[in-house]
Symmetry: C2
Subunit: 333 residues, 2 copies
């Protein structure tokens, strides 16, 4: 089935807000009740939408039928390509996990998808989450391999940068958050900005580079140059850096205060409602508390609730690819 | 006449892109040719739109009629309330000045509008450009007076902050610029950000505060505290500050280097395509060159064309209120 733009938007509302009446949907979509009735009819026939029971509406004696998503007619597929394995996920239209696989080689993951799609309903496009953008020396190879393998397997795909994918994950689970900065620390400093519910990206296809902010007016050094793992934990294995930072208070203080300074500046410049912090260091309550403390020293106006960490819902990260797929199909319209 | 949303969008396209065929409009509005034909019919009958001659379209022998805006059926009215006078402007739907008045007292300006509207076609809403937001101590009084006088005169109005109005002015004359930061220097530091063609404003109704960025990680002082007229030209009359800055190279250098540092940080964070500089200091080529020079010292990646100054089209500033009116009616949809 090919969805119309309004059908996609309607499904998006059911994903983010849950079951509701046709009337409620019509008002949110700026459509007539009749138009929504027609639109939902074909969605119901195809099984993408189902009718639930009736609820009392505001007026006495008037009942309204709630509609919800049918969950067995659509599959969202996503891959999260990491340096030494691939997270492969299949979810239903609501984002519930249908199947998850951790596969060590990209080639095997693509082959697995090819075999798996036979048993699932039709899908549209597979999101592939990659580290780095095309054009960055370090990551080109992975992205080129993704492109080569997916094309050879004739699978439609979309490559999404992993930091943008984290911002999309946050947006999916917090649909009311429309203006926020996401910063991922470790091994470098990555960022993504949502304004008016959309990922910031300019006409030259560049996105936010929080890590390129200068931390000092009299030096050309960027935040990333100051606090990347390579700078603050020279010679230490990447997998050991978090432990090192947590054991060296002076280093942790240094990292957090540089980061806090740049976050405060981003906050006032962008009138941010929320700052979302990602990176495995922030699984540690101590590291997160230290960052909050440093921010408070600069500026009291960032409320405690405005600073959140993505590790609080890390369990959801294994289906990140599928969530990105749902986002682009039904929410980013 | 009450315009539909699509009619407003169609007029917006004619304002920013000029005359074009129904077919071209249909494709940009994502509508069928038939829908655009119906829409334009009523606009033509009412005189808001006129047919121009035919042009050859791509296909041999096929001719298309161009349509353009009718200019005598609509008036945009705007007021720009300054500390000692009011710029009052009336423009046609294309933004051509019909009438301009500089009036010393707000009360007289409102009275003038009341009398003037009798001779103009119907209007919708008057934009009133004010210094400062409601809630800031210093400017409350003016805004409250605007509200009192406009309400008493039963004139529909919208209050717009003067820095946001400058960003709207830039957007009106450069419709392709969708992601930019506008910074106005003097007497304080004001800013406005456009992302995806919309003014950035969060759910708490706060906008960008470039002037609140910290210029140093080890000090709580903001850019505005460092470079406002009150700080760098203490005891000097506001009207004399520009001359003072241009005569004191050390002070100018200081101001420009602090500003450049924050601009470079905003540029990387927001992936800005353009930075627009406003404020009477920048009428001076020397001041503008100094800012460019300081920016280059920090970062070569800001191209010369990415930095523009609004004083290059200062003549258009006297109709700023009317342009804001046109923007909200036909472009910000």
């Amino acid at each position: 089935m090919i969805f119309s733009l309004n059908q996609r938007k309607l499904i998006g509302l059911l994903i983010t807000e849950g079951p509701q009446s046709r009337k409620a949907l019509a008002s949110k979509l700026h459509l007539t009740n009749a138009a929504v009735t027609v639109m939902t009819q074909s969605l119901i026939e195809e099984g993408f939408v189902v009718e639930l029971g009736e609820i009392e509406s505001g007026k006495v004696g008037r009942k309204e039928t709630l509609i919800d998503l049918g969950i067995d007619k659509y599959v969202a597929i996503g891959m999260d390509v990491r340096s030494d394995y691939v997270n492969l996920s299949f979810t239903d239209i609501q984002g519930n996990l249908l199947e998850y696989k951790k596969i060590h080689h990209l080639e095997d993951a693509v082959e697995y998808v090819q075999r798996a799609i036979a048993k699932y309903p039709p899908f549209e496009e597979i999101s592939v989450v990659c580290r780095g953008y095309k054009g960055l020396d370090f990551f080109d190879q992975t992205i080129e391999e993704v492109e080569r393998l997916m094309s050879a397997a004739r699978l439609p795909y979309r490559i999404v940068h992993n930091v943008s994918a984290l911002a999309i994950l946050h947006k999916f689970y917090h649909p009311m958050d429309s203006n926020f900065l996401l910063v991922k620390y470790g091994p470098g400093v990555g960022s993504a900005i949502m304004t008016n519910g959309q990922l910031l990206r300019n006409d030259r296809n560049r996105g936010s580079e929080f890590g390129h902010m200068l931390v000092d007016g009299s030096s050309p050094r960027t935040l990333e140059e100051e606090i990347s793992y390579a700078t603050v934990a020279q010679g230490i294995e990447e997998s050991e850096v978090v432990d090192y930072l947590l054991s060296s208070k002076a280093t942790l203080d240094f990292v957090m205060s540089k980061m806090a300074y740049c976050l405060v500046n981003a906050h006032v410049l962008l009138a941010l409602e929320k700052i979302v912090i990602a990176g495995s260091l922030f699984v540690s309550d101590e590291a997160f508390a230290s960052l909050k403390d440093k921010i408070n020293k600069h500026q009291k106006s960032i409320q405690a609730d405005d600073l959140v960490r993505i590790s609080d819902y890390q369990q959801k990260e294994k289906k990140i690819g599928s969530i990105v797929t749902l986002y682009y199909h039904f929410l980013n319209l």
